[in-house]
Symmetry: C2
Subunit: 334 residues, 2 copies
Amino acid sequence: VTGGKRVAGEEELIVRYLRPLASGFGGAYGLADDCALVVPPAGEELVLTTDAVAAGVHFFPDDDPKDIGWKALAVNVSDLAGKGARPLCYQMSLAFPEAPEHAWLERFASGLAEAQAEFAIVLSGGDTDRRPGPLAITITAIGSVAIGRMVLRSGGHAGDRLFVTGTLGDAALGLKLRQQPGLAQSWGLACGAVAHLVSRYLRPMPRLGLAAALNGFASAAMDLSDGLAKDLGRLCCASGVAARLRVRDLPLSAPARALLEREPAQLTGILAGGDDYEILAAVPFEHAARFAAAAAESGVSVTQIGVLEPGEGVCIEGPGGMPLRLEKPGWDHF
Amino acid sequence: VTGGKRVAGEEELIVRYLRPLASGFGGAYGLADDCALVVPPAGEELVLTTDAVAAGVHFFPDDDPKDIGWKALAVNVSDLAGKGARPLCYQMSLAFPEAPEHAWLERFASGLAEAQAEFAIVLSGGDTDRRPGPLAITITAIGSVAIGRMVLRSGGHAGDRLFVTGTLGDAALGLKLRQQPGLAQSWGLACGAVAHLVSRYLRPMPRLGLAAALNGFASAAMDLSDGLAKDLGRLCCASGVAARLRVRDLPLSAPARALLEREPAQLTGILAGGDDYEILAAVPFEHAARFAAAAAESGVSVTQIGVLEPGEGVCIEGPGGMPLRLEKPGWDHF
């Protein structure tokens, strides 16, 4: 919206900004065909996932286009990571309310290029069009996994230990800080802490390193995008079990921990705010130690947060020892 | 917008309307996981394509939701058909400006179900969200083709004969009739003719039957979505050749032919209007007869419309024998 020069047509957009993102993937044919060709590596099968992000819903219209590109791809790759899959390629559909500016496209493509290099994934094809409404980026990411080794939501059993990667709630707090710039001061946060939390919102980092630990030892897994409470409920539902965990066992970053001490009401956001893009895994008790060791070997920190039990539902023990009741366990669009 | 009952949340939308569309595809896990598993049939590789349709751009907001569902899937399957691929499954991302009504969803899902049955394709996964702007449906369709047999845009050579399936321009005329209801009368069209043209716009029929002829004999092919003139230009550009054709050789339906005699200016819409979803194929001269025979055997009508030549660009000889100049060869969103 800066009055800069706009792209002249689909052809220019594709050739100048998108084609370079497809280099190195033979089946993309330099985006000169309308279909891509994908062959799973020998002994592997393909894993597909689809997620859309839109301005004003999943990101802010004035976010740095580099961050928008990164996030659009990262939220999809995170789904693959949650299944123990390795990224291969992605299809991307772009919807612009008006012809985008060159300066915007350049930064957007460079954010995608950065994410591609980080996640080892390449653009294979897609679609661009112009329509009213917010800028929207819809990606279908394709990964691969050894035959029969994809980790489902539905494989959990009573007795399995629950693990999560990284720390929870940072992105939800980062979103609030992004929405209300005055909040940092009233929360008493130092600049470094604010930067950490906001960057966790803007630049999710899929835990691809966990693949070996997941494929080797997990009974069920998924990435956390709509909040721990809601997503754990989904894993329980798919596996036909209940879950029990304690808030004091949840892994929190130093800024989140300090903030929670000062503002206990922020616990809801940490449990139900979403945008974590960490991995939740259920691991049979007898494999728990080896799972943790394999994760550590891959450089991914994991924390045991609870256990699966017979029954249904998620029981979260609050800081005071009483069960927590969440009014809204997580994100729903409707 | 009829004040009917709206869906209560993502869960209800998925379980009630989308899950039934995924039955029969094991790798969809009943849409209870966030990823799908896809294995190409033995000896085949996967073909991917992505196309979005949005209300007010690709269809009318008040179109029958059955037609909207059909078209969203058909335009993607048509891309697969143009490569000689067989449909397998599809990922679908739905963006609603507000929670959709049950009555709308029911018809939308039934249109998709009809299309699925017709094209032998099953829903494998996707994503739903709510955002301002028009209703949008983004699909990535996955098909398969014998290893090494996908037909590209880039394989054409000078001397190849150009074929198209079906008839051209019906959908572009149907769109005009849909936009301006008074037009039917001023064009002097009978009800049956109007219904034919409008249905060609609303319900494209991917030419999947052409696969054997394409895989066996075509050097290059693609489906026609943005108008013959523009799409043929793309095939020529990808193949590094020129094309020559005569308007009088183009296959037209009886209503389109009658209209063109009365309204010669409509020729532009026929050549550049888009939405044909027929297949354009280049076939080496020595295979042309066998290509036509294989197509006939599969029940797909094909017409030879021209020839590829050395050079670049598309030369269309108009009805009077002079080369046509098109101001805008086809659809561009920007």
